[in-house]
C-alpha cells in the first residue's frame, strides 16, 4: 500500500489514505426524498499500527476519533481509501455489551459469553470472575431491568474487561461506581489493555494516555495532525487547544 511503511507479519491495523464523509440527508416538502449533504468525518488518514502497540487517540470533540474507531470496527463505510485489520476486533463504547432487560445478570453473562465466543469450558470461571468484580452479590440473579445505572455499569464493565481481544478499540474510558470502585476498575482496565494484543484508546484523559500508551495520534477536524511519541502527541494536543 502506497504511503504506508509495511512490516509483514507484525501489522495489526493498516489504514491507507482513508477518507470518511457522512451523508446528511435533509428532507423538505419540495424534496421529500431529501438532499444529501456531505459532512467530513476523516480526511486522508494513513496509519500503520503494529501488534502489541497501545496507542492513544487524542483530539477535541468532533475531531474524528470515534469515526476512525467505528471505521476500523467495520461499522462505517469509508468514502475513499483502504483499511485492513488482522484479527478479531472488539470495541468498548459504553457499558452495554448487549444485555437483555428481561433476563438476569447471570443469564445475560452466560448468553453473551457464548455469543462472543468464550469457550464453553471457560464460561463458569468467567461468570464467577464478573460476579466477583461487579460486587452484585445476590442481585446477579435478579432481572437486569431492575438494576440501577451503577449496577449496570459495574456488570457491563466487568463482562467487557473479562474478554481477551486481539484488537481492542476503546471509545472513551468509563467512570464506574464510587471512588474505591473506580480505582479497582482502573486497575482491571489496565490489565485488560495489557492482555489485549493491540489497543487503540480514544481518550480525553491525558494522564491515562501517558501512563498506558507509548504512541499518540492527534486528530483535528478529521485530519491527522501528529503521529508519534506520546509526550510529543500530548504537547501537540495542548497546542491545538491553546
Amino acid at each position: 500500500m502506497e504511503g504506508v511503511e509495511l512490516v509483514v507479519g507484525e501489522i495489526s491495523i493498516l489504514v491507507d489514505k482513508l477518507t470518511v464523509r457522512y451523508l446528511e440527508i435533509k428532507r423538505s416538502i419540495l424534496h421529500p426524498s431529501g438532499t444529501a449533504q456531505e459532512v467530513i468525518g476523516l480526511e486522508n488518514i494513513s496509519l500503520n499500527i503494529k501488534k502489541g502497540e497501545i496507542i492513544a487517540l487524542i483530539g477535541k470533540n468532533g475531531a474524528g476519533k470515534s469515526t476512525l474507531l467505528n471505521t476500523i470496527f467495520g461499522k462505517i463505510r469509508p468514502t475513499k481509501g483502504n483499511l485492513k485489520t488482522f484479527g478479531r476486533v472488539i470495541m468498548l463504547s459504553g457499558i452495554n455489551a448487549g444485555f437483555d432487560n428481561e433476563s438476569t445478570g447471570r443469564k445475560n453473562i452466560i448468553e453473551l459469553s457464548k455469543a462472543y465466543g468464550v469457550p464453553i469450558g471457560e464460561i463458569s470461571d468467567l461468570v464467577e470472575d464478573v460476579i466477583d468484580f461487579s460486587e452484585l452479590g445476590e442481585a446477579i440473579d435478579r432481572n437486569y431491568k431492575g438494576y440501577s445505572t451503577g449496577m449496570k455499569g459495574k456488570l457491563g464493565f466487568g463482562f467487557i474487561t473479562s474478554l481477551s481481544p486481539e484488537i481492542l478499540l476503546i471509545d472513551e474510558t468509563l467512570g464506574v461506581g464510587d471512588a474505591r470502585f473506580r480505582a479497582k476498575a482502573q486497575d482491571r482496565l489496565k490489565k485488560f489493555i495489557q492482555r489485549s494484543n493491540t489497543v487503540l484508546i480514544s481518550t480525553h484523559s491525558l494522564g491515562l494516555a501517558k501512563e498506558m500508551c507509548s504512541r499518540g495520534i492527534v486528530l483535528d477536524k478529521g485530519k491527522l495532525i501528529f503521529d508519534g511519541d506520546i509526550d510529543e502527541a500530548i504537547k501537540n494536543y495542548i497546542n491545538i487547544n491553546s
Binding site: 440527508i25 462505517i76 463505510r77 469509508p78 472488539i90 470495541m91 452495554n96 433476563s103 453473551l112 462472543y116
Partner: protein, 276 residues
C-alpha cells in the same frame, strides 16, 4: 479470544473477511444466530404474561373480531375461509414489515463485535420460520380440531405460510432502503397493506369478487397462496380458474425480487452505514 479472523479488508465498496473455517467458527456463528433469534422472540414476548403465545393467539383473535363484525352486518361469513385468509395475511403483513424494518439495527444486539451479514441473514430466515410457525399454529389447530379439516390441507397451509413469509420478508428488504431515505413511504406501505387486507380475498373467497376487483386479484400473488390453501381444505376457491401463465410469471418475478432482497442485505448494510 480465539483467533478466527485472519484479515478484514474494508473499502468503500465492501467489507470482506478472511476466516479460518473450523468447528469453533461454525459453533460461534450458530451461537450468534441462536442469540439473535432468542432476543427477537423475547422482544416480542416482552413483559406479557402469555409471552410468545400471543403470536399464536393473534390471528385467532383477529378472526373472531371480524367474524363477529361481519355476522352483525349479516354477511354470512364462512369462518373457515376467513380463518385461512386472516392467518395467511397476518404472516404476510408481519413478514413484509420485518423486511422493511431490517435496516433499523444491524448489530443483532451484540454491541462489542461486528456480526457478519451472513449471521444476520441466517437469523432473519430462522426467526421468520419460527414466527410463521407460531402464527400458523393456532390457525391449523382450530382448522384441524374445530373444523375437522384434512391433514393434507393443514400441512399445505403450513408450507404455504412458510413460503409467503420468506417471500414477503425478502420483498420488504427491497423496500428498506427507500423507506430509510423517505420515511413517509413507511406510512404509504401501511395504507397499502390495509388496502390489501380488504381488497385481497382475506375475509371472503375470491369468487365473491367481480370485474376489475377479480382481475386485480388474478395478478395478486397473495391470492394464489390463500386460494390454493382453501382448495386444499375443500373450500370454495378460484385458484384453478386463474390462467396458469399469470401465476407462473407473477411468482417468478416475486421470487426473483424476494431473493434479490435477501441477498442484498450486506450491500444494504454497508450502503447506509455512513448515512446520518
Amino acid at each position: 479470544m480465539v483467533g478466527i479472523i485472519l484479515e478484514t479488508n474494508i473499502n468503500s465498496e465492501k467489507l470482506t473477511e478472511k476466516i479460518i473455517k473450523n468447528d469453533f467458527y461454525d459453533n460461534l456463528q450458530n451461537s450468534r444466530v441462536e442469540f439473535i433469534v432468542n432476543r427477537k422472540l423475547r422482544k416480542i414476548a416482552g413483559r406479557k404474561k402469555l409471552g410468545i403465545l400471543w403470536m399464536v393467539l393473534d390471528p385467532l383473535a383477529t378472526s373472531l373480531v371480524y367474524l363477529f363484525v361481519l355476522t352483525v352486518f349479516r354477511s354470512s361469513p364462512n369462518a373457515e375461509t376467513m380463518l385461512i385468509g386472516i392467518g395467511m395475511y397476518k404472516i404476510f403483513q408481519s413478514s413484509i414489515k420485518s423486511g422493511v424494518n431490517t435496516i433499523s439495527d444491524f448489530s443483532g444486539g451484540l454491541k462489542l463485535e461486528r456480526v457478519s451479514s451472513n449471521v444476520l441473514l441466517k437469523s432473519i430466515i430462522k426467526f421468520r420460520i419460527i414466527d410463521t410457525f407460531l402464527q400458523s399454529f393456532g390457525v391449523i389447530l382450530v382448522l384441524f380440531i374445530g373444523f375437522k379439516s384434512n391433514l393434507m390441507g393443514v400441512f399445505v397451509f403450513l408450507l404455504l405460510a412458510q413460503i409467503i413469509g420468506i417471500i414477503a420478508e425478502g420483498f420488504g428488504l427491497n423496500l428498506a432502503l427507500i423507506v430509510r431515505k423517505i420515511p413517509d413511504i413507511g406510512n404509504i406501505i401501511n395504507y397499502f397493506l390495509l388496502l390489501m387486507f380488504f381488497g385481497s380475498p382475506v375475509l371472503y373467497p375470491m369468487e365473491f369478487t367481480e370485474g376489475l376487483h377479480y382481475t386485480i386479484n388474478e395478478y395478486n400473488p397473495f391470492t394464489y397462496f390463500v386460494e390454493y390453501s382453501r382448495w386444499n381444505m375443500g373450500l370454495s376457491s378460484e385458484i384453478f380458474n386463474i390462467e396458469p401463465t399469470i401465476i407462473i410469471v407473477t411468482m417468478l418475478i416475486l421470487g426473483f425480487v424476494a431473493i434479490r432482497g435477501l441477498m442484498s442485505l450486506d450491500n444494504l448494510r454497508w450502503k447506509v452505514s455512513n448515512w446520518s
